[in-house]
């Protein structure tokens, strides 16, 4: 794939909930293999922005393109775009893996079936193929020994790793992480970050909303700092050490203080 063509384009994304403007025009690209971390104070719109990418939170205005294809909108007649239904959106969403803050594993299915459901029902694989893929993905997140367990018998860190395996089983072009470690007990954060780190090392494209500044610095190639519905500052991970704006400097100071140093 040509490096100059972005994998993901987010163009002038707006989102309002009633009178509340959460996104006020967010624009950024993700190149193939690039890992973009979105940081910022709570309420700055970072999760809304991430959820806008796969239209779980349909934007009020703006455009998302994945591999040059517009997501969530269809041109009915030239120049007239209409929002797609969830059914129309399904094949597009299948190309984007998403990992949620609260995992959202399906409690009635074993870890293996949580991972195998998508390849079987959406990917059109046979049950045997889907299970084989699920086992391979669970091995990747070091949970082969928990394949038959049900989610409620797993620790938070294990559940999140199953959720990552589930996203990987989609064989997605892009992975979205929505604060994947914020709901975890501190001692379980490391195992999840290690898995994400390994995925980064494979060169997978990802957008990562996170509070873990240290981790963002290790894993991301690029950092977006969001504030009040806009990208206030963006650049390489050096931003996290040498912020240009006062606002980012202040934010980093606050985060560091919370980390208990």
């Amino acid at each position: 794939m040509n490096e100059s063509i972005p994998l993901l384009r987010v163009v002038d994304l707006h989102k309002s909930f009633g009178d509340l403007k959460v996104l006020k025009g967010v624009t950024f690209d993700v190149a193939p293999g690039e890992r973009v971390a979105i940081i910022g104070p709570s309420g700055s719109g970072k999760s809304t922005c991430l959820r806008g990418i796969n239209y779980l939170e349909p934007p009020t205005a703006g455009r998302i393109e994945l591999d040059g294809v517009v997501i969530g909108q269809r041109e009915v007649t030239p120049g007239i775009w209409r929002r797609m239904s969830d059914t129309e959106l399904a094949p597009q969403r299948a190309e984007i893996g998403m990992v949620f803050q609260l995992f959202y594993l399906w409690p009635h299915l074993s870890a293996r079936d949580n991972v195998a459901l998508q390849p079987q029902k959406v990917g059109g694989q046979s049950r045997a193929e889907a299970l084989e893929l699920a086992d391979a993905m669970l091995a990747k997140v070091q949970l082969s020994h928990k394949a038959d367990e049900f989610p409620e018998r797993l620790s938070g860190g294990q559940q999140q790793r199953v959720a990552i395996a589930r996203a990987l089983a989609q064989q997605p072009k892009l992975l979205l992480f929505d604060e994947p470690t914020s709901a975890l007990d501190p001692e379980l954060v490391g195992e999840v970050l290690n898995v994400i780190h390994a995925l980064a090392d494979e060169g997978r494209s990802m957008v990562l909303v996170t509070h873990e500044i240290g981790f963002a610095r290790e894993v991301a190639n690029r950092v977006l700092f969001m504030d009040d519905g806009l990208i206030a500052e963006e650049g390489g991970t050096s931003l996290l050490v040498n912020p240009k704006s006062d606002r980012l400097r202040q934010f980093l100071r606050q985060v560091n203080r919370q980390d208990g140093n």
């Binding site: 059914t87 399904a90 949620f100 009635h108 459901l117 029902k121 959406v122 367990e149 018998r153």
Partner: protein, 219 residues
Amino acid sequence: MIESLSYPLGFVIPLLVAAGVTIKVSVGAFVLAILLGLVLASIRFFVPSPIVRIPIAIYVEIFRNVPSLTHLFIIFFGLAYMGVRLGSISAAVIGLGLIGAAMLADVFRAGFEAIHVGQREAGLAVGMSPRMVFRHIILPQTWRVTLPPIGNYAVQVIKDTSLVAAIAAPEIMFTARNLVVNTFETTLVYGIAAGLYLLICIPLSRAIRRLEQHMAIPR
């Protein structure tokens, strides 16, 4: 004929036959109630528009807030007056089924609502259509949540079939009353009737509890 049979077999045999009718009406009403209740709740789930929601809400309210007997009389006598003549057993199945559907539609609605929105989002996010999400994620979890109220309803519908004696469906209570009128063996006949209800309902309750345990999510 009854008098010619030896006592108390003369009571037991007609009551057993009547128990067959009770079971037939119960199963018919139960199946109708589950299917219609699930269809109504599913329509509400997929089409949030008031054009759909209001008629369903009206249906649910009418059937839940008017006594069952009134409905049975309307369906049996009211429809007959309008020229639609239903057999007493058909009227009983339809009447109890429609009443049960209103109740179960609400049970299923509550079941759907009890499932965290994140369950649906995770399904959509992996590329499932809303229909697939419903079938593979929402519905299997709804069964587990709604099984206890559905089980209660199953027992209730068996007891409620006694009401259809009033429209001359030859079930247990209708038959029992006829036997009492002919023999004045009040305690014995109604005692046998009660025993038959126990014989039907207790194993049913136990089977449902078994099913609940079997379907429980391991935790």
